[in-house]
Symmetry: C2
Subunit: 323 residues, 2 copies
Amino acid sequence: MATLKDVAKRAGVSVSTASYSINNSSLISEKTKEKVRKVANEIGYRPNGLAKNLKEQKTNIIGLFLSGFTGPSLNDMVEGVQTEVMKNNYELVVCASVDSHRLLVESYVDGAIILNYHIEDQLLTSIVNEKTPFVVLDRKLDNPFIKNVLIPNEEGSRMIVDYLVSKEHSRIGYIAGANYSFDGEQRLNGFRKSLDETGLQFNEADLIRADFTEYSGYLGMKNYLQIASGKIPTAFVCGNDEMAIGAIHALQENHFRVPEDVAVIGFDDITLSRYVSPSLTTIKVPRKQWGIIAAQTLFQMLDKKYDFDPMPLPIELESRESG
Amino acid sequence: MATLKDVAKRAGVSVSTASYSINNSSLISEKTKEKVRKVANEIGYRPNGLAKNLKEQKTNIIGLFLSGFTGPSLNDMVEGVQTEVMKNNYELVVCASVDSHRLLVESYVDGAIILNYHIEDQLLTSIVNEKTPFVVLDRKLDNPFIKNVLIPNEEGSRMIVDYLVSKEHSRIGYIAGANYSFDGEQRLNGFRKSLDETGLQFNEADLIRADFTEYSGYLGMKNYLQIASGKIPTAFVCGNDEMAIGAIHALQENHFRVPEDVAVIGFDDITLSRYVSPSLTTIKVPRKQWGIIAAQTLFQMLDKKYDFDPMPLPIELESRESG
DNA sequence: CCCTAAAATTGTAACGTTTCAATTTTACTT
DNA sequence: AAGTAAAATTGAAACGTTACAATTTTAGGG
């Protein structure tokens, strides 16, 4: 690869002049700049970002760290982040890291947005600093240089419970995902709390554990129906839409009508939700907005503004056929 | 940030000893290494990746460059790439770049996989080199250090045409996406060719142009039906599943039964396809496999093996209700 | 034609690593 | 106790930039 030194030599100027020219500094005469640029083009010079960033102690890169790339509602959030990052003339790199988290740890990014349960709190707090703030999407962390941008999960659960109670349901079951999910547990907690507040009893036997996939929801419900002797709840709230869809499938297989016999409510409002039959009543989470707010929060911090709370994410209950 | 120099000073050794110790070189005595590691831990030393990579002239990073993050079938491909990259102990960064393509151009990656129509052929061939090979997923490029891993689009179209012809269809329409899409145009070309080969005539008036979104498919078909006087084809082939779903919607609104009156075939087999009603007959493209093959191809090249052709991607026709 | 100020150019150090070559220390052997 | 080979440690250069400070060139005024 051609370096600045090569350009300088070929153009008959010093390395500093070459550097200034490439960066269009007003220190250099137009004539010289022109000459340097021409040579640079000729030999296909490309600046080395590593060297530049090392020198400048700044990469102009934002990292978005995920646990993985699967998940139907992920893209919108990422797109939101991307939009905002571009607007600020930074680059976005999206990484799914499971152990080393190298790019996060080795000064590759000027800031990071975290949605990755593989990354431990302790690691985050140990590497964050004034110059490299973080925004976390999947946990609550109390640190001067870390801000949380969270989905109002408990509020969502409360909306669902209120909705079901208004429809005269009194025994409500719950299908939860894997318990390492912050959102999942918040949704479950919110559900429990709201039920409590309305004076209803939650029967722990009506809690099905699955893992957020459609199939796990299907299996969980199928299994539940097998061991449930006698009556079952008239409604099930689910930790996400996929499990709700799976559960409906299992219910229908066992000749329960949805929503007439059992109402099923999801969470997230993924694209599929309006296509399945019956279409899914769920909580609509504006994922793109989530990404936008996360990025805006990060840029505020990069701008040394720390004294604010991120905008809350507006959610709403999308009432469809399933309940 | 603490640097190696800080560690060295505090441990009372030279910078080189500190470096060797951190990297667990056998040159250094266990005792010293232990001491250095302890100090490094104490002051929270983290190596600076930029400096390291600059020195080593190697980042151990693979870049996946996309046009954007939206699109339902994207994640599986990305996941495939990620799997393979991890297996090889590299890091993957996924970027959606629209103009500067900074990370691609400024020596940030040791190799790249390209699925981004914003990046021009000319740029790719001008920056590729023996040390930084590319795999392109959205074009055909003839360059010693670039390999193409393409979806067998023409083959897919041929499978569809054969299938429809075997079902006695003789007038077949086509809904194409935006013409900047390599895959899209290949599919259309393949369709034309296959039709030709079977001796059927393609009526150019039966070509609808849309832009790959469901809504555009809906609008395109709606519009077509409005201006089509008299008979319409008994089958429509679509450049992707989304448009097919939109088109079906428009057909049904106009009281055409699918597939009885008009068969509609998609391409891609996105998740939705099996959920819509009627469920969609389509070409199943193994997206994860695509990503895996792309990455494997890249690593072959990084391993200085250039004399091979990437494995072809197996596709199959998934026959469902829509045709 | 000389002086001076402004404009243009350049040498050099620095960013934080790695690694070669050189030096120092250690541990045997005789 | 001296000599030596092996082991351990270190100094310095290099990776490709940027930007300060220093130097050289240019141009204008007397």
